[in-house]
Each structure stands twice: as structure tokens, then as C-alpha cells.
Amino acid sequence: MTKAVEEIQRHTIAVLVDNESGVLARVIGLFSGRGYNIESLTVAEVDSHDKLSRITIVTSGTAMIIEQIKNQLRRLVPVHKVHDLTIEGPHVARELALIKVVAGGEKRVESLRIADIFRARAIDSTNESFVFEVVGSTEKVDAFINLMEPLGLADVSRTGVVAIARGPNPI
């Protein structure tokens, strides 16, 4: 086997499933039962008429493992479509985070200044705290959180990645 095959890569996979009870457990159980990684997983209904949900999974593994993950997902009865956005062409991926910063004085001002650079919005404020909303790539959200760390970072809530292919074609 060549080195390239064994190299661990990160993939973003979009999965269209029936929005029925237990479907998320099937997907998560498949990953834990077979020892695959989940770096991030998001799910919500996207089609209320046909009762379809879209799951976005960020996972990592060798090319062989990634192929297995996709085939195993396709085997699940309520799964309709599995698309590997990472290899199927360009896509956009975004994550939203809510970040609570508790500080006063200069740190409080500095946190607002950095939030401005990241185009994060303060969506809640008290005399001693802010809640910022930041949207962007995982790397951008990571960077923002790192910068908030010394400025009184108190709490973080992240959505995980949602992603969609660029261009006119739907999933």
C-alpha cells in the first residue's frame, strides 16, 4: 500500500436522511461501533414536506476508511444521499459560535475591539460580560476563541460545521 493511501485526511460529508426517530443514533452508533472519528456533527430538518434532515459530518481517516464511512452510511436504510464535499469539488463551510467573555476595564474594551475585527456581534451584554456571536470557518472561530482566552473567556457554545457545495447544483 502506498503512503498516500495511508495518509490521514479530513473530509466533510453531507448526508440526507429521513427525519425519523433514531436516525441520528444510527449514524452516531455507526461511527462509534466501527471506531471512526467524528470531529463535528450537525443535524437539522431541511425539508419539512418530505421530512428530510441534513447531517454534516466532519471526519478524518485514511482514504480507505473514508470510503468505508461513506459506504457504511449508504447502507443505512433511512439514508438517501451521501456526498463527500471534500472531494466532489469546491464547497463552503461555516460554523457559528456563541462566546461569553466576563471582564471589566481594559480587557472588556479589548474584547470588543477584537470582536469588531472578526465581525463578531455582541448579542448580549451586562456590566461585566458580553456574549459574542461569530460566524466563519472553523479556523476563524478557533482563532477568535484563542484571542478571547486571556480576556475573560467564560463559556463557549459552537454549532459545528455546516457545509454546502459551491455552484448551482443541489445535493
Binding site: V5, E67, Q68
Partner: protein, 588 residues
């Protein structure tokens, strides 16, 4: 508005089962399924086999399914009834057996309340079923049952569980016929023609080819087995079968090399190792087949035909894959072969068979017989010789006896060999034989067992007697969990930790206590007599044969070794120089 066709959930359920072609249900009643049993009582289209433990109900349904090609049906109650069925479901998933298991459930308003005999069975069985359903509304019942059967039998078959809360089977609703239910589940059955053409080209140009065929061909049906046989004979290439594939190609055909894998023949394993083209049809590169993966057939191109895309490139990377049902793909392969007027490379093939015949000449399954002790291989050979004219269905439990049976019995027909391959479930054989006998009342059905395995579901003798199922159980009693003892001898320094049972029941008296017939053979000279006697009796028979306790299954690919590193027998020194003791301990 009262519809004249409004039925209770239980009535809808039974109507759906009849419309799905169910004839026999294997089950055990309990509180949550009483309304279903009440309906069963009132009708006579569905027969019910009352088992003594729910695990046996599932294995019996597996036996029924695998010997007929139909979907097996199980009915058990909630809680412990359902959890007892779990091992059977896991077994059916591993070996791709189509089943529908109906479980009772507490009423919907009690779900999640830790009610009496409540278990989250859809949660528990999610990883050991192909799919499962919890029916929350009687309006969904008929559709769900029809879909469950469709999912169980379509694509790669497997067990499907339908959980039925008690209020759902008591409420009234309308029935929907199967024709009115459209499922979105549609696995691919036709293979890609371009890939098939490429495969045929590779097959025609091979110099040292081998067909490596698995249970997928058996599952695909008798037509697939015939097409396989036709194609293999057209090419004149050698063919080996997996444990699950036995019967897919005639065992008596000279092109058949025997089973491959951990306890496969020298000729099968060496041909796999040295081939230049491997044609895998409906097998899954299981670890019991491949041995050490990086030493597995290192110089061959590999073609893999499988209905399950997730089987492809899972354990072994292949050069060409065809996703599709084996029957369809084989049919297309033969068409293409004929259309292109393919010819094999006769000269190369002759050389290849010369090499194979040399391996064959080693006669790797030979054993030293004794006139004092019954050798287990001898017992199985005699069973074969004395029963073959009746084309028996053979079931096994799990362990040494299973491997000897796989090595020494020859199957010319598919669906006549039933064994727990993937999960390796001790206690599988006798209940499976019950299911086979239900489906084929006139047939000779034999369970070859070990004294340890048989005790895992020994209670089912009562079921055999109650339902007048004349199954013949042959227990090869060597006083040990033989395969455990073998591994302890070969890999764990002869430390026989807990593999010896120093107390066994008197199997003859036990059989009689259940109302069955008990027979015993203690010397080789008694073997033929008890086999003939057991065949002559039209009742369930338990035969105990006291066999040589020290016998091991050879050839053996030690854990962590490759196909060309087989240990051939007790005298073979290669097992000492392998240095694999520690690796072997890690692997199973």
C-alpha cells in the same frame, strides 16, 4: 365513521405476515404480545413453533430462512423476551440471513418509564440488525411490516426487528396490502456492464486464476449457484469456497479445491497465495479467510463481486469491483464471455493445475485413524458416507466439530449446510435444525455438535419432541471445549484454563428424559451402527459419540500468519519456528 375493514393491530399484523408469505413463526409468548397470540389462536394459516428460549427462536428462523431462501419470522415478548433474541439477531446480521423479528413492547404511554418488562430493544438492536422499527401508531403498522420484509430480503439480506407496543396491536386501524406500499430502499442488483466486461477480459487472460466464492452466491439463490457452476466449468479454473459458501459449487467437482482459510485445505490456501488473478464472488475477505492481510495473496490482481458496496475495499484493496447481485453479475459475465468468444490460456492453466495437483497430493485432511478411539474426523466421514444418499441438511454448532464437518463433508447442493460463520455462536445448530425440519418435514436433518455447544441450547430437545421434529443430533463428546483447548495447546503453552468440563450429563438419559431417543457409541466399531439406527428412527435422536480428546483441527493458519504458512499437523515443526505466540495471543 366505522369502516367495515377496520381491524385490530394484531389482526393487521397477521394479515400482513400471511401476505408476505409467512407460513411458520418461531416464538414464545408473554404479556406484551398476548393480543397477537390471541389472534394466532383464532386462525390456522400460520403455524407457530413454541421454543424453550427466545435465542433458539431466532436460530430456528435462521435455519428456516437459510434452507428455503425465504424470510424467517420470529415473535417474542418485550423485555427479556426481546433481549434473549439479541444473540440470534447478531448471528443473522453477520451471516446475512433474512429475518423479521417481532417484539412486544410496553404500551406507548409507558415507554421510557422503566415499566415492567420494558427494554429499549430498538436501541439495543440498532447495531445488530440490518434495520429496526418502533411502530407508534396502528396506522403505520401494515406499511412497516411490509417494509420490514422488503428490507430483510432485498440487497444483502439481514435481520429486521419490528417493535410493537401493546396499545398499537390492540388499537383499530386499516390494513394496507403489500402492493400499496412503496419502499425507498432499492439496493443495486445489476452490475456495471463496463466493469463486468473488464472482469471477463481479466479472467480470460489469467495464467493462475482462482474463484474464491462465498455465501453471497448461496444467498443470491439456486440460480446464482447454477450460473457460478456453469461459469467455473466453462473456464476450467479452480474454485474454493468459504465456510458460508459451501454448496454454492458442487463439492464433488474436480475443480473444487475445498474450503479455504484458517482451517482450509493446502491446495485452496496455496492457490490463493500463488494466484495471479483472484475472482471473489460474494465473499468478504473475512479475517478467518485472509490470515495476515499483508501476506494475503501478494502477487494477484483481485476482482470483487458483492451486493454490498461496504464490503469492497474494507479489508483488502481490490483492482476491480462490481457491485451487484451475484446471479445478475454471473449471468452477464457468461453472456460477455460467450459474446467475446473468450478462450482461456490452456498452456498456463495446465501448469497451474500441475502445481495445484501437487498440493492436493499432500492430502492435508488425512488423519491417523484408530481402532480403539473414535476419531472425530472418522465419525464425520461415516456420517457423510452413510447419509449422503438422502441429501441431508447439516447444521453444526461452533468449534472443532464444525471445522471437521466443513472439511470432510461434501455438499453438491446449496442451502444444505447451515453453520454460524461470522458470529461463531455456540448453540446455533440444534435450533437451526428445528427450523430446517419445519421447512422440510421429510428431509434428513442432522446437527453435528460438540458436547459444550449443545449444552448452550439443550432445552430445545423439548421443542423437537413437542413438535415431532425428527432432527438427529450427533454430539462428538471429547470432554473439552475443543477449539479453546486447541488454541491453549498451540498458543498458550498448554495451560488448559477452564476449557475442561469435568462433569457432563449422561446424554442418553438426558435425551430419554426429554422424550427423545438417546444412543451412544464408544468405539469406532459402534459408529456405523448408531448412525444407521438414528436414521431408522422417525423421532428426535441424540447420539453421543465419545471421541479422542486430544485431536486437533489441521491444517491451521496460526493467527497472524499467511496462507503459505500453514501448520499441517501435530508433527509440523513450523508451528514452533513461527514465533507468533505473542501475536497469536492478541488476535482472536
Amino acid at each position: 365513521m366505522a369502516h367495515h375493514d377496520t381491524l385490530t393491530g394484531a389482526e393487521i399484523l397477521l394479515k400482513a405476515l400471511v401476505d408476505q408469505g409467512v407460513e411458520v413463526i418461531f416464538g414464545y409468548p408473554g404479556g406484551a404480545v398476548l393480543p397477537i397470540y390471541d389472534e394466532l389462536f383464532k386462525q390456522n394459516r400460520l403455524r407457530h413453533v413454541l421454543v424453550r428460549h427466545e435465542q433458539a427462536a431466532v436460530h430456528a428462523a435462521e435455519g428456516y430462512a437459510r434452507s428455503t431462501g425465504k424470510v424467517g419470522c420470529v415473535l417474542v415478548t418485550s423485555g427479556p423476551g426481546a433481549t434473549n433474541a439479541v444473540t440470534g439477531l447478531a448471528d443473522a446480521l453477520c451471516d446475512s440471513v433474512p429475518l423479521v423479528c417481532l417484539t412486544g413492547q410496553v404500551p406507548t404511554h409507558l415507554i421510557g418509564n422503566d415499566a415492567f418488562q420494558e427494554a429499549d430493544i430498538t436501541g439495543i438492536t440498532r447495531p445488530c440488525t440490518k434495520h429496526n422499527y418502533l411502530v407508534k401508531d396502528v396506522a403505520d403498522l401494515a406499511r412497516t411490516v411490509h417494509e420490514a420484509f422488503h428490507v430483510a430480503r432485498s440487497g444483502r439480506p439481514g435481520p429486521v426487528l419490528v417493535d410493537l407496543p401493546k396499545d398499537v396491536i390492540q388499537n383499530k386501524g386499516e390494513y394496507q396490502a403489500p402492493s400499496k406500499v412503496k419502499s425507498k430502499y432499492k439496493p443495486q442488483v445489476k452490475g456495471d456492464l463496463k466493469a463486468i466486461e473488464k472482469a471477463v477480459e481479466m479472467i480470460a487472460h489469467a495464467k493462475r486464476p482462482i474463484f474464491y466464492v462465498g455465501g453471497g452466491v448461496v444467498n443470491s439463490g439456486p440460480a446464482a449457484c447454477q450460473l457460478l457452476t456453469q461459469f467455473v466449468r466453462m473456464t476450467g479454473y479452480p474454485c474454493t469456497l468459504t465456510l458460508m459458501g459451501l454448496g454454492a459449487f458442487p463439492g464433488s467437482d474436480p475443480l473444487f479445491l475445498g474450503m479455504l482459510g484458517m482451517h482450509g485445505t493446502v491446495e485452496a490456501n496455496m492457490a490463493m497465495h500463488d494466484c495471479d488473478l483472484m475472482i471473489n464472488i460474494g465473499a468478504r475477505f473475512d479475517d478467518r479467510v485472509t490470515g495476515r492481510v499483508n501476506g494475503f495473496s501478494p502477487n494477484s490482481k483481485k476482482i470483487h463481486v458483492d451486493i454490498d458496496p461496504s464490503s469492497i475495499n474494507k479489508n483488502v484493496v481490490v483492482d476491480l469491483s462490481v457491485v451487484g447481485d451475484c446471479a445478475h453479475v454471473l449471468e452477464d459475465m457468461i453472456k460477455v464471455w460467450k459474446a467475446k468468444q473468450c478462450r482461456v490460456n490452456e498452456k498456463a492453466l495446465k501448469e497451474w493445475w500441475k502445481a495445484i495437483d501437487e498440493w492436493r497430493a499432500m492430502d492435508c485432511l488425512a488423519f491417523e485413524n484408530s481402532n480403539k478411539l473414535i476419531k472425530p474426523q472418522y465419525a464425520i466421514q461415516r456420517i457423510y458416507e452413510l447419509t449422503r444418499h438422502r441429501n441431508p441438511y447439516i447444521c453444526t454448532e461452533v468449534g472443532q466439530h464444525q471445522m471437521w464437518a466443513a472439511q470432510h463433508l461434501k455438499f453438491d447442493l446449496p442451502h444444505h449446510w447451515l453453520t454460524s460463520g461470522g458470529l461463531g455462536t455456540m448453540g446455533y445448530g440444534m435450533p437451526a435444525a428445528m427450523g430446517v425440519q419445519m421447512a422440510h418435514p421429510e428431509a434428513l436433518v442432522i446437527d453435528i455438535a460438540g458436547e459444550s455447544s449443545i449444552q448452550m441450547n439443550i432445552q430445545e430437545i423439548a421443542t423437537l419432541v413437542q413438535h415431532r421434529l425428527p432432527v438427529k443430533v450427533v454430539i462428538l463428546n471429547n470432554q473439552y471445549m475443543g477449539m479453546v483447548r486447541q488454541w491453549q495447546e498451540l498458543i498458550h503453552g498448554g495451560r488448559y484454563s477452564e476449557s475442561h468440563m469435568n462433569h457432563h450429563p449422561d446424554f442418553v438419559k438426558l435425551a430419554e428424559a426429554f422424550g427423545a431417543v438417546g444412543l451412544r457409541a464408544e468405539k469406532p466399531s459402534e459408529v456405523d451402527g448408531v448412525i444407521k439406527e438414528m436414521m431408522a428412527v422417525d423421532r428426535p435422536v441424540i447420539v453421543e459419540m465419545r471421541t479422542d480428546a486430544s485431536e486437533n483441527v489441521f491444517p491451521m493458519i496460526m493467527p497472524g500468519m499467511a496462507h503459505n504458512e500453514m501448520v499441517l499437523g501435530p508433527e509440523d515443526k513450523s508451528r514452533d519456528k513461527s514465533g507468533s505466540e505473542e501475536d497469536g495471543m492478541v488476535l482472536v
